[in-house]
């Protein structure tokens, strides 16, 4: 029984390691953005990050109000 558990654990570990290696490979492959990063593009991407940050904050605030409303905090 214990051998079976260890075998499954090793299989799972191998699978996770493969996934991590694959992600690293993808990150390496796309390390350098191909698009020309002029001032406009950089500014737009910065605005996009700020926009997404605001949306995430709004979502977090909404969840906080829901949880607070349910008396969980």
């Amino acid at each position: 029984m214990l051998d079976f558990v260890f075998e499954k654990y090793r299989d799972m570990k191998g699978f996770m390691q493969d996934m991590v290696d694959r992600v690293r490979e993808i990150n390496e492959k796309y390390k350098t953005p191909r698009v020309k990063m002029n001032r406009w593009v950089s500014a737009v991407l910065l605005l996009l990050r700020l926009y997404l940050l605001c949306l995430v904050l709004l979502l977090v605030f909404k969840f906080y109000t829901i949880i607070k409303g349910n008396g969980l905090i």
Partner: protein, 422 residues
Amino acid sequence: MASVSDLYYNYRRVIKAIVTYLMIAGPGLIVMIADNDAGGITTYAATGAKYGYNLLWFLIILGPVAYIVQEMTVRLGAVTKRGHAEAIFDAFGSFWGWFSLFDLGLTDWLTLITEFIGMTAAASIFGIPPIITIVVVLIIMWAMVLGGKYWTWEKIMLAFCALNLVFIPAAIMVHPDISAVIKGATIPNFPGGLNGELLFFLMANIGTTIAPWMIFFQQSSVVDKGMKEKDIPFGKLDTAMGAVFTILIAVFCVIVTGTLLYGAKVDSAAQAAQELMPINPWVGTMLAIGLFDAGLIGAICISLASSWAWGEVVGWAHSLNHGSAQAPGFYLFYFLTSTTAAAVVLIPGAPLVLITLFVQVIAVTLLPAAMVFLIILLNDEEIMGKYKNTLFQNILGGLIVLSLIILSTLYAVSTLFPELLK
């Protein structure tokens, strides 16, 4: 005067163009009609019941808007031979790539749940239990892709799309006031003034016309079909035809509920179909069939949009021309997303209303990014060459993207905090 040979030459040229178009047609028509998914039909049904024919003009404006955004994906796909997810990784690096991929996966999965909600609700009108509906739908969805031929899949999809035209005879059967329809379609007006509720309806209609999965789906579909630069004009025509059909379906759906349910409170298309049954059983049945079909088309396209995107990036074989043995990861992803989304609908007490609302908010986290990336990519001469955006296309596309970002953000915020628009 034209000679017989000239006439014959022109005749052959027209026939050849039509044959070529029929071979290229598909991605644009399918994506645009799939855009009228279960959520879309619900929005149109509610819009008709609330405002009658008064907002038809607004729906008509949305046709060119959808065309302008989707046309860019045709050019990008045909030139780069890459889907949108892979194009984002390549052009903007892995941070934006992973963000888009995970956000697309989540948005698509949540939207898939809403498609299954729509289909089970439509089938329940005919007394079919949800479990039967879901099993049958999953079998159809799997059988369609396992054929190992993009061509076969596309033709079956086009048949489903043709079924979506059921709203046209339904609208004719309700005998609408033609002069009122023409007035509503041609004279812009804001019934009751531009108040919070009307703004919410306008934004909901925009939200259902442009969805982030559409950008990913059409570009991947163009690549899977093997379209080349020379096919771009036909791809554009295909997208324009799709935009015409999507607006036709939306308009006729609004006419149905605007004629028979004007003034009633409609929360879903299934409810509208049920309320129509005692008034006109044929029209009620047609609306239910249309809702089911819309959900099915949407579910198939959305599952594929995610599977294509993940396949492109992770490096799995990811074409409908591959069999399941050649592309196991691609098909497994397709099966897993569709099955898990369907299973959620069957969970007793699952927060389906909350999921339906949450979809809109999550979609807004992806839509601006996907559209901004599209515009930037279409302006990169190194990537697009002579197919890059012209100044006119940039002004038009830029204005549309900016307007869509503002309105969809307002929609998401008003969904999260409804008291803001009251």
